[in-house]
Structure formats: C-alpha cells, structure tokens
Amino acid sequence: MIICIILLPIIAGILVPLLPFRKRSHKEIFLEGAVILNSILVWYLLLHHSESTFLLAHFTGDLNISFRVDGMSMVFAGLVSGLWPFATLYAFEYMTKEKHENTFFLFYTMTYGVTLGIAFAANLLTMYFFYELLTLVTVPLVMHTLTREAVLASRKYLYYSLGGAAFAFIGLIMVIVYGSTTDFILGGVLDLAKIGDRTNILLLIYVMAFMGFGVKAAVCPFNSWLPQAGVAPTPVTALLHAVAVVKSGAFAIIRLTYYSFGTEFLRGTWAQTTVMVVVMFTIVYGCSRALKETHIKRRLAYSTISNLSYILFGAVLMTPLGLAGAITHLVFHAVMKISSFFCAGAIMHQTDKRYVHELNGLGYKMPCVFGIFTVSALALMGVPGLAGFISKWNLAQAAVDSNNPLAYGGVACLLISALLTAIYMLSIVVRAFFPGRDFDDSAIRDVHDPNWKMLLPLFVFTVFIILFGIHSQPIVDFFYDVAAGSY
C-alpha cells in the first residue's frame, strides 16, 4: 500500500510526456485525477494504518529500505496530500503562460511521491535516500525557465542541498554505528554503552548533521539558495519551497533529534545551545532580509526562512511540548505560506508585476486575491483568531515551559520576527489598498481576479487558516498526542 502510494505519482508523472493527450484538458484531468486518487489513498492509509513496518529491500548489512506509518508521518503525509491536489489545480492555470509544461508536470508530480517517501520512511537510511532523491527531482523544476538566473539558482540549490546531505550523512553514520537500530523510535536509538566517553564527538556530529539537514530548512548561513530558487514557477515556489522541500528539512531534523539521537541525550548540552542560537538568529535574520527585499516572491521566501526556524526552534527545545509546537507550526505555516505564495503567483500571472512597489492600487482590481493575501499576512503575523497565533502560542508555551533561559530569548525572537513580519507583509497590503491620493489607475484598468482554478485553492486555504485559528482544538490535540508518542 505504501509503495503504491509512493509510486503512483511517480509513474503518473513519467506518463505525462509519454501519453498522447489530445487536448490540454485531458492531461489536466489525468493529472488531477491521479493526484486526488493518491491523496485519497494516503488519507485512507492514515486512517487505517497498522503499526507494522513494510520492508522493501535490504541494503548493505542490516540497513534496509522500509516504510512505516507513525505519528510524524501522519502529520507530514496528511499535510502534503492535503495540499497537493489544490496546488496541482492552481498549477494548471498558472502554467498556461509557461513553456515545457510536460517536463514541469513530470517532475512536479514525481515530487509528490518522493515527499511521501520521506514522510513514510521507517528509518534514517530510507529517509536519507528519499531526501537526496527529492533534491534531484526538484532541480529540474527550479531550472524550469532555463534562464541564466534559473540555472544559477538551480546550481546553488544543488550545491547546498547535496552538500548539506553530505553532512547529514555523517549523522546517519553515527546513528548506524552508535545506535541500536536506525529505525525511528521516539526518544532516540543511541546506545549509551557503545558511546562511552565519546559524548562530545557525538554532539559535534549532531550539530553537523543538524546543519546538514538544516540546509533544506534554510538555516542561516545556508539559506541563500531559497530566495534564489524563487525564479521557479510559482506552484513550485509555493508548494515545494514553502512546504514540501523545506519542510522535509525540518521534518528530517525532527526525525534526527527526536527519533534518532533522542532528546534525553541532547537536552541541556552545548549542542542544544548551539543549534538554538543558530535557529534564533535565523528567525530574526530571515525577517530582516524580507524587510529589505522588494521582489514579492523573494520577500516571501525570506519570510519562509524565518518561519522554518520557528519550527526548528520548537524542535530544538527538545521537549514533547516543543515538538508539538514545531508540528503545529509545520502544518499551519504550510497553509499560510502556500496561500500567500499563491496570491503572489496570481498577481504575477495576471499582471506580470513582481516587485512590491508596482502593486499600488491593485487591491481594488483584484479584491479576492488581495483579501486572501491580507488574511494570510495577518495569520503569518500571528493575529489571534488565525492559524499563526495558535502555532506561535504553542511554540512560546513550549519555550516558557522548558525553563531554559535561552528559550526565553527565543520567545523574544519570535515576537520581534512577528513585528517585522507585520511590516513586510502589511506594507504590501497597504500599498495595494491605499495607493495614495492622486493615484492614476488607468494602467491597471484591465486587471481582474484570476479564474476559479486559481481562486478555489486560495479560498480553501483561507478557510483553513481561519478554521485552524478559531477551532484548532482537535488538530492541536492530535499534534500533542503525536509529540507524546501515542501514534
């Protein structure tokens, strides 16, 4: 079943350029059908999962490729499968203006399968495998436009990702050698007897592995690939560089920290302090860069950098509450950011404008898009009643609860970042709705909201932002259960 789920989108993707579609709409139906079917299968699996591990193949020694459904995979797979059908729908409309559609959908759909592979991986090696694969299938998407900018961006993306994986690999080795198994077990698998007095070396390796996986999660100083990768078509930037790829990095770090090294081993050590400082710095750094950036998508990308570090901040608190906070933000941020990215994409698609200062007065021409953008902006700021508030609340509570003075500083970082978020997001909104007294709107007279394929995902995401903000109890309870290891 799991294999099926992972392979279905990959095969569907490969079929796109091979099948002779007579009309574009046939292709759309085929792809959307495949993606929706897969999402349904994923949800079916999540609701009827069993504890057993599915072994696909033996690697060297006792290393193997195997899959399992546990709490974290439910969260991540549920998230990804929830977003993908909408993103695909959006992509159909968006891609009408771009070339090489088939290649795009080939890799775009394949990425779905690979991401699910990361989610369902039962051990570190399997995850590492799909993690590398994810880099490879997404590179063509970054490179899609084949402009010089895109080539440079994809190059950088590759260097960073593969390089990061190289260091994460060292962590993998440590777990293989010093752990009792490489399977993910909440609480860690390190065998203290084997470690002996090598604690410090292991901590050093942890930090290295953290930074290695952190590359995908855009931890400072390895974040510059993310804004550059914004040259990709918006469905890619939105879904992959705000959700699938970068969240895989965060997901991998959570796996590494909570399920492999174990929080018992790490909590209170210098390694925790180090990574926490890095994460806190990134939170503020990302926001400040976003403030300076005038390209809309790059601004959002910097915002993603900062928000990813929120997740990591929760993760490096190394308490169950911290994990719950991290998971909450992992899910909620995905919805908020994809919504704002899709708005940015809709703006680019309808008007070809890509800089903040060009947006004057567009709010009245595209009320739906900008209205939704405002909601997502407010949510990202953490206005109560919207999703962002809840996730920040959970993170902050975990930080306060951890009794770690540094974490208190982290709470302050969260709030500083919220303030900066307010400025860089709302300045867009203000521009769009308050273009100035003598604004001449003749240049944008014909601009209007995009069609339903673009708007439907946006509306759905907005509904979820509000729903999560107002009535988050069931889902947050679920997250807490996951963090406590009940699934």
Binding site: A57, H58, F59, T60, G61, L125, Y128, F129, E132, L133, L136, V139, P140, M143, L146, V151, S154, R155, L158, Y159, L162, G163, A165, A166, F167, F169, I170, I173, M174, I176, V177, Y178, I201, L204, I205, M208, G212
Partner: protein
C-alpha cells in the same frame, strides 16, 4: 589440482601472446581478437571466481612445477579473481564505448598498435593481480608503464606527447623507487616470493633487528606505487594524461591502470609485510593525511577546470585520495571500503569518460563547458549517463558512490583518532564533488537555445548507448546489492592473510 587452476596463467599468457599476434593481423581482425581475448579472460576469471567461491580457499600455482623459493608462483583468491573479472568487464565496455572515436583520434596505421598495447596492458594488469612474486610484479609494472605510455601517446597530438613524456618520467621514478625498495627488501630477507618475504619480515620484527631499513624499504615501495597511482601530491601527470588521450585510453587508464598499482600495494601490505606490521608503522598516517589532502585538493583543482575531460581527470585524484584514506585508517573495514571504492570508482569514472565523449561529440568536439551548454538535450543517452555517473560520484543513494562513502564513513568511526578528520573531509569532499559535477550536469541541461550543433539519436550510437547503459546498470548493481560484493571482498582479504 583442478583444471580451473590453470586459468590465471592462461589468461595472462593469452593476452600477452594475442598482443603479438595482433601486430600481424589486419586491423579488423586485430580488433576482433582483442575483444575476444578480453571476453575470454573475463569468462575465465568468472569461472575461476565461482570455483574459488565454491572451495572457499585460495591456491598457489607453481610455474613449471618448481617449488618455492626457486620457482615463480601465481596465487589466486577470491579477490584476485574478482578483480580480474571486474577489470575485464570495464576494459571491454571501455573499448566498446570508445571504439567509434578511435578512427577520429588515432591514425589508421596505428590501430593495430593500439590493440597490441591494450592486450599488453591487460596481461600486465592480470599479472599484477595474480602474481605471488615481487620481481615478477616489478617486471609487469614496467610493462604496464610502457603500454600505458603508448596508449597516451598514440593519439599524436602535441599535448599527448608532452603528457606521455611526463607520465613516463613520473612513472619511471615511481618504478625506480619501487625497485629500490624491492632491493632493500631482498637484501634484508633474501626472498622474492611474497609468502617467504612475509615469514622473514615477521622474524625480523620479532628479533628487533634492521628495523629502519625495513621501514625504508616499505616506504620506498609505497611511495613508488603512490606516484604511479597519482596520489596527491604526485598527481601532476594525471590531468593531461587522462585529459588528452583517446577516450578508451582515458577510461582504462583512470579506472584500471592506477587501480592495478593500488591492488599491488594491497597485496604488498597483506602478503609481503603483513597487515599488522604495516599498521604499526607511521606510513599509514602519512597515507591517511595525503589521502585527505588529495580528496580536497583534487576536487578544488577540478572546480577550477573548464575542460570537462580534465575535470573528470582531476576528480580521479580526489577519488584516489579516498582509497588511500581507507588504507590510512589501518583497519580491516577501511581496507574493505578502499577495495570497494576501487570497483566503484572504476565503474563510475569510465562511465563518465565515455559519457563525456558523447557530450563533446555533439558540441563540435569542444570540451569547454561553454560549448557543452545544452548537450544533454542533443545527446540524451550521454546526458543521462553523465548525470548518473555524477550522482554516483557525489554519493547519492542507489549508486555505487553512496556505498563506498557509507563504508568509508563506517570504517572511519571505528578509528578513534582519525574519525573526525575523516568524516569532516568526507563531508567537505562531497560538497566539492557536488559543486563541480552538478555544475556540469546543470550546464548540459541548461538551455536548448543553441541548435547549431547536430543532435544524436539512439540509432546513430547504438553501441555507445548500450555501453553507457551497461555502465549505469553496473553502477546501480554496485549501489543496490552491495552486500554480496562486500562479503566477497572481506573473504578475499581474509584469504590474503
């Protein structure tokens, strides 16, 4: 003694004599003979391997039935047979893959010579693999050098001659040092057969006499072989030699010739000096350090390069650094990793060279990156193959490179003092590998804008494409089902002792 036991001797002899025959045959026939010999040797090695796996013991073959210490011996174990088989496979594929370029690169009249050299090379490699006699080893080292030199030079372009001269000088220096070391060793022990030397060395160590000359002898042999296998900083000859020779030569040289020397070194370590004794010397630390430096500097040079073939050549320097790093760890696991990397690198590097030629072909013969832009679209097979090779080099799971990285890292963890250095350099080196290989991969897929160069389809390059496919499959086999191979290496190394 079974008939199969004659195979090592046969294979060396066949390839040696077929070289002689080739000189009088017409070109086409020479080619056929060459291929058949390689294939036959491969088949024989395969049968031998199966036989050895069956018996589970190595055997010693007396040449002319003279017992030691007078006679010359051949020894065959799992590792030897496996190595010979693997060398044949790579060689066959490389020859097949580069065949269509031979006409462009080598004068018509020299084709026969080319096949002669290849056959000689094969026989010398096999001899290096199988021999149990140090002096025989030396002789074949020289034969190997000469034939390799010829292979470089045969494409008579200005740079190749210069490269060949440089290679000749460095190689001779290397074999000279090896000879010195051998002389001292003979002086100390009075033997030339490996097993006999080993006994004497063990006695010497026990007695505590002649320690320094012994170390000097070992060091000289090591350095000699290091130079010949282009360990950093003795790699200056390599980029030109690999970069400008014919495709098949480059593939064979990079993946086999240097590996032959390295394999000889492994034999010396295990069969002549003794693994334990060797590990107690400081030499392994030196090898370790130079291995690490090679991993970094080789890659750095590769990054600076803007010629695809030279870049791949420089990458060899880095990969050889990996192998020596494995030696330097001084553990069984490190050695296993090194031997595996010999295989994995050979499979990958020849793939890259052969794929690179496919790419340059559709870029007006230019090897500069700027001309290669978009080559991956013009020659799809070569593009895919190059990508696969690059991914293997970077160490992406599914490919052989990942397994060697895994083995190296696992080995490194067992060595307390060298663990961090090895792991960190492994990481950095992966980053550097990613930089230059991925840069190239992105380059060849960058844009379809320039269509002034022709495209090549499958029909135009059937053989080439199939060879590439075989190489990819080989890589993936090494990458996916590595466990039997690793087991075999372990058994083989155990037989050495």
């Amino acid at each position: 003694m079974d008939f199969v036991c004659n195979f090592p001797f046969f294979s060396i002899l066949i390839s040696l004599f077929s070289g002689t025959i080739c000189s009088v045959l017409p070109e086409k026939a020479a080619k056929a003979v060459n291929r058949i010999v390689i294939a036959a040797v491969g088949v024989m090695s395969g049968i031998l391997l199966l036989y050895l796996l069956g018996t589970g013991e190595s055997f010693v073959y007396w040449m002319g039935h003279f017992p030691a210490p007078w006679g010359n011996e051949i020894r065959a174990g799992i590792l030897e047979a496996g190595m010979a088989l693997f060398f044949c496979i790579i060689m066959y594929l490389s020859m097949a893959g580069g065949a269509h370029k031979l006409f462009d690169e080598v004068e018509e009249s020299k084709h026969n010579l080319y096949y002669i050299l290849i056959n000689l090379l094969l026989s010398s490699l096999l001899a290096l693999v199988y021999t149990n006699d140090m002096f025989t080893a030396y002789v074949f080292v020289e034969i190997n050098t000469i034939s390799a030199c010829g292979l470089i030079m045969i494409r008579q372009v200005g740079r190749t001659i210069e490269a060949a001269v440089r290679y000749m000088i460095m190689s001779l220096l290397g074999s000279g040092l090896f000879l010195f070391g051998l002389c001292i060793m003979y002086d100390l022990t009075g033997h030339l057969l490996m097993s006999n030397i080993k006994e004497s060395v063990a006695l010497l160590i026990q007695s505590g006499e002649y320690q320094i000359p012994l170390i000097v002898s070992v060091a000289l042999m090591c350095i000699g072989l290091c130079i010949k296998s282009a360990l950093f900083p003795f790699h200056a000859w390599l980029p030109d030699a690999y970069g400008y020779s014919t495709v098949s030569s480059a593939a064979i040289l990079s993946s086999l010739v240097s590996k032959g020397y390295i394999f000889l070194l492994i034999k010396i370590i295990y069969r002549v000096i003794g693994f334990e004794i060797f590990n107690n010397t400081r030499i392994i630390d030196v090898l370790f350090v130079f291995g690490l430096l090679g991993m970094i500097f080789g890659s750095l040079s590769a990054i600076k390069e803007n010629d695809i073939r030279r870049m791949i050549a420089y990458s060899s320097v880095a990969q050889i650094g990996y192998i020596y790093m494995g030696f330097g760890m001084g553990t069984q696991a490190g050695m296993v990793a090194s031997v595996f990397h010999i295989l994995s690198h050979a499979a990958t590097k020849s793939l890259l060279f052969i794929a690179a030629i496919g790419l340059t072909e559709v870029s007006g013969g230019s090897r500069k990156f700027i001309d290669l832009t978009g080559a991956g679209y013009r020659n799809k097979w070569a593009g895919v193959a190059f990508t696969a090779g690059s991914l293997s080099m970077v160490g992406v799971p599914l490919f052989s490179g990942f397994i060697s990285k895994l083995l190296f890292a696992q080995a490194a963890v067992q060595v307390e003092g060298k663990m961090l250095a090895a792991l960190i350099v492994l990481g950095i080196s992966t980053v550097l590998n990613a930089i230059y290989f991925m840069k190239t991969v992105i380059r060849i897929y960058a844009t379809t804008g320039d269509t002034s160069y022709p495209c090549i389809t499958f029909k135009d390059m059937k053989v080439h494409a199939i060879v590439l496919l075989f190489f990819i499959v080989l890589n993936i086999i090494l990458g996916v089902s590595s466990q039997p191979i690793v087991n075999m290496i372990e058994q083989g190394l155990a037989m050495f002792a």
